[in-house]
Amino acid sequence: MSDFRENLKAYMDGELDKAGVAEVQEHYDNDPEVRREVDQLHAISQILRTGTVQPSPEGFERTLLALSGSKRRRAETVRGWALGLGFATALVGLLFLPNLLGWNRAEGGTSAAEMSKQSVAMASPSESAMERAAKQMGTGAVPYSPDRAGVAPLAAFAKPGATNLYAGDRQGAGGAPGIVAPGAAGASDSGTSGPVAQNEMTPFVPQPPPLRGRSLPPGSGPLPAGPLMNVQPLPGVAGTTAPALPQPMGPAVPVRPDPGSISLNPSAIAMSESAVRKVVASMGGQVVGVSALRGGQANGGKSILVSVAAERAPVLASRLRSALAMMGTVSDPFENPAGRSGRDLAVATKERTRATAPAAAPAPALRAESSEAASETDADANTLEQDLSKAKKKREELLLDFYEDAPAVKDVEAEIAELEKKLAAARKSSPPKKPAAPTRKFIQIMLQPRLSLPGR
């Protein structure tokens, strides 16, 4: 009895199958109580279907706008992702493709197996392993052991024949510390021939070298940040006084660590300083100060301040780069062919061109006299210019009434000629108001050992 009552609502809604309908229909036909129940259900249903409050819709336009905006946003998002992906791909290509190519050039086709062996040698810096690495390179030079000097080994990353990493090796091969004098054999072309364009002083962009198969040897210590070597003209000192030397250099300009950089040992720094002095002397410059780098490593970061004639500063900077590149301490693959050839064993370089250097400083008394003379000459020139302007104006006015060969016009022209002569003489005798170019420049060279290893 209760089963068919559960189906009354479904019967009324037409949701019953035939069997269910037949069963309920039988009860409906024969039982007035069932009919009454069905009528009541129907009445409730009718009231609910027709009598409920119908909220009046609002916000349709807003929804349509939101839908169109969402569609647009999605299209923009897809476009943005596509663009981003494209840029990322291009960036990755730019970053890694040249390095891979550069690696191949530098390694000269070194096989992965050889690299792996070198990596193993680096990972376990025992004496025998280091010696093996040196033998593999065919140089006979024993790689620098971090256990002995606290400096990361160099030779494990050197190309065969690149024994000039070490001062001892360099000297042993006949290369005295001063071998990098300008014009000396072996100096790079760009560094020894002719003046170098000023734009060579633009900042160096470190190019990450290949990192394959390299690992940090134990005991190599923390990895300090900062440049390994900087060559940078100093900002000029305003005014005419000579700068107090040596000036405090401050901390080394932070440079993104060059993953392919090698470490300099103290002797290499000493050799670099010697080379710098020779190059500076050959250019008529002067080393005016050598000081320890503030915050430098215990094994000898140095800052060398060089004074040189302003017009020679770019050439000197270029030659310094070349000289240091010859020693394997500088690499500038974008500007320096020598650096390119020794790229895998070179260190990071950063050059910066700052403001122009100060002008030569006259003595205070002379400075005062010259100042007075200059002001007098300036006053004369101004007066002459005014007179000349008046004369020219007078000539134009005369020409309105007279021919050019009229005596009055000729007189004025003679006056104009005389004034022009006087003005030219006055301008010649007066010193330039502002020196067009500085007479001296100061170049700062920072030699800083770095304990980082390639692969960083």
Binding site: K9, E15, I47, V53, P57, G59, T63
Partner: protein, 165 residues
Amino acid sequence: MSRPTLDIAQIARDNYDAVYRFCARRVGSDRAADVAQETFLTAQKALPKYRQESSVRTWLFGIAHNECRRIVRQKRLETPLLELDPAKRSQEDSEETLVNRQALQTALAKLSDEHREVVLLHEVEGLTYEEVGVVLGVPAGTVKSRLHHAFLNLRKALEPVGGGR
């Protein structure tokens, strides 16, 4: 076999009113527009996955149902009462003789959420049992059972006025 291409703007034009009312009866008129909009935005995202196994309106009600539940939970909203329109009293004289509207209104307010939901979907929105099951994610048999019990409760509430069995 190829399905007709669906345009969300056209779907919105055809179904916005129904979706709005559906939402208004569950979250109130003040939030109905926002929830309806959110429903269509969700539908726009889900349109590529819509398999057209149910009607568009049923599919939209399913999305709206989830949106309303989310809002109700999030805002801790009270379920609004299902109001009967007094203006239509005169047209339902025949039903009035059997059912006291005021008592029905009170009985509707006492329904559980499950029963109220099936009553709304079937009686007010006009969905079949199958469609109500799709919207609620339950079988049609469950819908039938819930409807039966909902109407049983309504009838019990109306018994004294209706004259009893």
